[in-house]
Symmetry: C2
Subunit: 244 residues, 2 copies
């Protein structure tokens, strides 16, 4: 039985397979495979700075210069916007193997913070842009990266604008499963806290708790502990999320 967790809306980042800490170029046996943005970065800047960061560490903040772009090696990063009044919206979570902080703007418009302990690699954006000037393939990757982010944001707008709490949680769990891969038995790890989820879905932490518990009691999911969820009824979950 395939665990293929494909959402109706799979317009998020392409399924870059998660890769363990170092750079074994995945599948050399695939000659026609496109070279990813991440591979370009690694090849251009093989000695880029690698850092281990503690939880809740700010990688960059709104307004910071966008002179670096980052690879998330392990852990999870949240991208958020803050309001003058102190509200926060978590735009998205970054999963291992993904690039973040790449934007066509002199200053960051979002804040990036580690959720738990994380390892990141910093690449020079200047060097990246210079390489892109003479490399059409790389340019295409760069545009695709921004474009993917746009499509993801639009999908999220649909979720925030049209879904109720239960549907939002279902959509969130499915997208997370799709991106982070399921462990054995449809087990999914929730690196982020309930408050992060709430701020991502436009709910309160209490509503997130209650909704997760409701799904649990309905048998749709299983919640052995705060950081793990088992998607017991994948199709039931999809039915909720898809009536998107």
């Amino acid at each position: 039985m395939s665990l293929a967790v494909r959402l109706a809306y799979s317009n998020s980042n392409p399924p870059q397979r998660i890769r363990s800490a170092f750079q074994p170029p995945a599948k050399p046996s695939d000659p026609a495979r496109t070279v990813t943005l991440l591979e370009h970065l690694r090849q251009l800047q093989p000695h880029a700075l690698r850092q281990s960061l503690p939880r809740n560490h700010t990688v960059f903040a709104e307004g910071d210069s966008t002179d670096q772009v980052y690879e998330l090696v392990s852990g999870v990063v949240r991208l958020a916007k803050h309001t003058p009044g102190g509200r926060r919206h978590v735009l998205d979570f970054v999963m291992p193997g993904e690039v973040f902080g790449l934007i066509e703007n002199p200053e960051h418009t979002v804040t990036a913070e580690t959720v738990g302990d994380a390892v990141i690699v910093s690449y020079s954006r200047g060097a990246l842009e210079r390489a892109a000037a003479n490399n059409p393939v790389l340019r295409r990757r760069l545009v695709s990266h921004i474009s993917d982010n746009l499509l993801t944001a639009q999908q999220q707008l649909l979720i925030l604008g049209c879904q109720d709490a239960r549907e939002k949680i279902a959509s969130f769990l499915l997208r997370l499963a799709e991106r982070s891969g399921l462990r054995t038995g449809n087990r999914l790890e929730l690196a982020m806290g309930r408050q992060d989820i709430a701020d991502h879905l436009g709910l309160t932490i209490e509503t997130v708790c209650r909704t997760i518990r409701a799904l649990h009691r309905a048998g749709t999911i299983n919640v052995p502990n705060v950081h793990d969820v088992t998607l017991s009824d994948l199709s039931g979950l999809r039915a909720l999320a898809v009536e998107i």
Copy 2:
């Protein structure tokens, strides 16, 4: 007194000045001015097809081929996503002088429909891309266009995720004013109907009505008729939207 309607978050499309139906290149007296994407399109394809469309006409739908990009000459276009269950979310409205339908994808991921009568010009995307291959400036415009859309979407996520009905309406009115320009006396034209606004802000049509009326009774705005709004208390409106 300047009517400068600047939001705290002016990350929407750059303030391309609205231009009347034909192509007088605005300000030839400004040599250092950057050439806009629209000007590139016009110069590349001066004989592109111009069409007058009736209200509620579908320019393109989700899934359609992205072989054309469009200029909105007059009228308003809404960009929406539809769900299998029949729900709709209006991602954004396109104002005259703006380019829409440009996306890094073989198929459209949104539907574009005219709100009222509109005039559009269709440009070949293929020709645009070919021109971009040898034109770094044009390439930069293309990336900026997508990037601007991304920033706008992220701002909208913040609004949908963090604001209540009153704040949403205030934010909406201010952004509309910022983009479409205010007429005399802070008068703003609402080309779209209440249902469109509701679907854009994640509210119901009734809530939109009631909220607009509440703002009216509070003296923040004036609503002489359904299609016009006067922003009587601009700073009051900003205070609502900014506590974003």
